[in-house]
Amino acid sequence: MRLPLGQLKKFINIDNISLEELDDQLTQIGIEVEEIHEYGKEINSVFVGQVKEKDKHPNADKLNLCVVDIGREEPLNVVCGADNFSIGDKVAVATIGGTLPGGFKMKKTKIRGIASEGMICASDELEIDSDHSGIMVLSNDAPVGKDFTEYINLADHVLELELTANRGDHLSVKGIARDLAAKYTQCTYKSPDVSDSLGQKDGKTSCDLEIQAQKGCNRYILKTISNIKNGESPYWLKIELGKFGLRPINHVVDVTNFILQELGHPMHAFDLDKLKGRKIIVRYAKDGEKLKTLDEREIKLDSSDLVIADIEKPIALAGVMGGFDSQVDENTKNIALEFAHFDPILIRKTSKKHGFHTDSSHRFERFVDPESIPEAVGRAIYLLNDISEPDTGYIDLYPHLPLIPEITLRIDRIKKIIGKKYPYETVRRILSDLQFKIIDESKDEWLKVQVPSFRLFDVSREIDLIEEIVRIDGYNNFSPEFARVAITPGKYHGERALITKIKSNLTSLNIDEAMTFSFGSKDYFKEFVPEDFNFAILRNPLSEEYSTMRPVLFANLLSAVKKNHDLGDKGIQFFEIGKIFSMNSGKFCEHNALSIIMTEDSMSKFWNKPEEKNDFYSLKGMLENLFDFTTEPVVFSSGNEFFLHPGINAEIHFKGSKIGFAGKIHPSFSKKLGFNSNIYLAEINLSKLSQRSEFLPKFTGISKFPGAERDIALVVSNSTPFSAIEECVKASGGNNLKWVKMFDYYEGEHVESGFRSIAIRMFFQSDTKTLKEKEINKSFQKIEKSLLNQLNVSKRTQ
């Protein structure tokens, strides 16, 4: 909200307070000052002048040569194109070296051969309005030589405020001043100038009013004004509206807009002669009724929309926007002014539904004080006084009086919440300054108060009063102090501990962490899941590109790899940990997953050493190292993910169940995604992994006795996996077999096609004695026999 300082000063006497301090104090009471604009600072060296001479330009019929006194020794010679003024008139003169809005710099110029030492300004040139029909003629009492912006109150500071959603009462100059007055007890709050009387309740009105709606409209005051001379607003009003960021329209509309900013009361003016039946009805719309609003949109209404109607049709969307057909224009003669209180929730529903957000709906949604409506009526009559004769009567329908809560505040409760003891007198004073009415009290113990009607939206409980006390006393007016409590150890709960461990292992294994959006394009994700996959889909995404929750982690991560790939970085090893999402029988499911992607090009290319390319076994080895903390090892077996290369495709198992996959991305996908090298990827469901819980594992002993190795070279069918050999060796090796390792691998020449040569080494050792040659040989022969009998292998002969 924009708050012109000049306006604020009308309500509260803060002349002795610096702008800096005001900024700070407003912030201290919860009114954040985002920015302070120097309004009118673009206008420089414009002075009030008086026209002394006015003659026709010798070379141009339409130009005048004027001599203008601006209070200097020598008057100025000014060429002027307008003719709407006479000798003796006061005008605004822009002088050489000065500036005007839009960065316009005044320079000495010759117009049709005659030098002009300045410019007599039209109001549009000063951004007061858009009128360029003539120059601006000032009132007779304008002091010659005075700075124009000062004279006309155009120079001002405008504070840009950031307000909180609960304080509807802050949405006006008056509201800010009222709150500030509770902080600045030395400054007095002053009510605005209003007309003494609204009229008599039984006096004449030119229009009838009926509230048919049972709910939604809590109060409605209707005031009619006849024989109005509507037209342009006076300059002061146009200037003040400009400070609020509004454009002048016509006098009546400008007054309604001004009162909304000044007092926070949305009001509306109807052209009475445009209403059918001279009657205003507050009712719910009929399904299918239509309304053309002021912004010339035609909206379709339904029975949940509260409207203002004449006897025929809706003429305004209540509290949100007026109707086009009943609007006040410069020819309007008779008006009906609406001052109402509408229900906040109702207004919010309606404005959301129709996509409106107006100054009026913004305030009604945040509660408008029904009790101060008469003040707004008085203000309107006062401001329209010059151009109208109000009818003697008015109508005030008040079907729903507000419930005014009474709250008891316990003094010791404040200390319990805040930690600071507030003296009884301080509490009492602050509440009174905030216009809470003290209706009962017990000194030093408790106070019972009535909430002022302008605070009904945000104060209803004891805690709300406590907030008020601390807010006005100052949030920075009490010291930090730790509560005295028992110490409990902090720790991770749930999967976060596991994730932290994985992240630290992965980075030490030279993998960089990436983070991608949790959503993406459905069309893209479809490539990576079975056809019957149930996506979690957003109803209101930013765009299709971000419409669907990721069903797998690697899809978006692949895009991140691709991006770097395209930037010329070919060696990429990325991981990401995050949630993946799906739907399962109508329920939303999410769990943490880990994805790792590596390109074939290694990240570490070293000088003077042959480059090592990444392959499936690099990925696998990395994964085996990564999971050194699990309760059981992860196990790989042949897999069949359709987006992976059919032959380089592994399932990962943990405790007997599948937790993920690893492999090379299918060449067809690789091509589709635009990679020109091999990409390896793995994805693992972290919710199924478990971490060793003990701090230190049991000591397993170290044998004191020598051990011995035995090697065997086998020719193995491609259909026999290495894991089968390993298992067979372990199963038949007996207690003394400590480990088995593959140490050589060969396929190609000298090995029959469909077979490969695998050399394994076994190590035998006992914990209790030195093994004899005979014992070792016996174990080894047993293994050899099992291998040859159980598997499709033979001993390599050469």
Binding site: K416, G419, Y475, S479, E481, A486, H493, E513, N564, F588
Partner: protein, 337 residues
């Protein structure tokens, strides 16, 4: 032969030598089976008995001397060889080293970990919650009813009228309190989502860390003390805090906390828009409505909550001008941290 003559001949030959191989030849020439010295020793037997003793003594002395000289020369050559090879092995130690680098954690993760570390050290546990939330946990239970203007600040992604992407980490407060009796002392980091269009300061996905502490005797003063300690640890220097009244539906009183700008020390600079303060987090005392929702006795227990935006902290700490860098995953950005 005369002792002196043998000695001189040996000395001349030895001086002419500088290779180990030739040294060995010389040793054989004198000490081998048919060596000069061996021969001389054998010849003692042919001398008259009265001369044998002296001749034997002299020859043995000579043998020892020659052996020693030979050994010295041997050592000298070995030393030379080592010196030469050391000279040859000299390398340029400024050539690049060869080892795999260490991977980089994402900057957001680094900030979260650091904040977790600090709070764990203060006795907080780290909790998590779902990212697809219900309106109940994200709004109603947090005292943000339907059609309240406070919802304006939460541009929400919907799956259906009941399910949304959480707009804040605050639902974890409710989920934790539902399963736990006080004392509750938790932080909850995680992703949040708001349907903000992407620009230099907005993304539809970001991270928050929620803090919650409820027990008997927990006050606003404690909140201040805790945050002061936390931020001093995070910024690694004593910070000045400013609390401003604000509004969050699930806390009362509520506050925004500013920290004196770490770039300019509060003097005013571009980062703090010349204000000297940086807005760092929102916090407040847990609202009685929230206790009501989870069945806590608000007369007995009091407590506070806070929420902090991770990307924003990272941007301030590191001077990152555009939030979009975070999820573009350009390695040139990621690997700076």
């Amino acid at each position: 032969m005369e002792i002196e003559l043998i000695k001189k001949d040996f000395g001349d030959k030895l001086d002419a030598l500088n290779e180990l191989k030739h040294l060995d030849d010389l040793r054989i020439e004198y000490f081998g089976k048919k060596g000069i010295l061996t021969q001389e020793l054998k010849n003692i037997g042919t001398l008259p008995p009265e001369e044998r003793s002296l001749r034997g003594k002299n020859l043995n002395e000579l043998k020892n001397i020659l052996n020693k000289t030979l050994q010295d020369k041997n050592n000298l050559i070995l030393d030379e060889i080592m010196t030469n090879s050391i000279e040859k092995e000299k390398i340029d130690v400024t050539l690049p080293g060869r080892w795999k680098t260490i991977g980089t954690k994402h900057i957001v993760e680094q900030v979260i970990s650091r904040i977790e570390e600090i709070f764990i050290s203060m006795g907080f546990t780290v909790e998590e919650g779902p990212e697809i939330e219900t309106c109940y946990y994200n709004f109603e239970a947090l005292n943000i009813p339907d059609y309240h203007p406070a919802r304006d600040e939460h541009d929400t992604f919907f799956f259906d009228p009941e399910h949304i992407l959480r707009t804040q980490t605050s639902p974890v407060q409710i989920r934790t309190m539902e399963t736990m009796k006080p004392p509750v002392r938790i932080i909850a980091p995680g992703k949040c989502y708001r349907s903000d269009d992407i620009d230099p300061s907005h993304l539809p996905m970001f991270h928050q860390i929620e803090g919650l502490y409820i027990d008997e005797g927990v006050t606003f003063a404690d909140l201040k003390a805790t945050l002061e300690l936390f931020l001093t640890e995070l910024f690694r220097k004593k910070v000045k805090l400013r609390f401003r009244p604000s509004y969050f539906p699930f806390t009362e009183p509520s506050a925004e906390v500013d920290v004196n700008c770490i770039i300019c020390d509060g003097k005013g600079c571009r980062v703090c828009s010349n204000k000297g303060w940086l807005e760092i987090l929102g916090c407040g005392m847990v609202d009685p409505e929230v206790y009501k929702k989870v069945g806590y006795d608000s007369e007995k227990y009091t407590g506070w909550a806070f929420g902090i935006g991770v990307e924003r902290i990272a941007m301030q700490l590191s001077g990152i001008p555009d939030i979009r860098y975070f999820y573009e995953n350009d390695k040139r950005f990621l690997c700076q941290y």
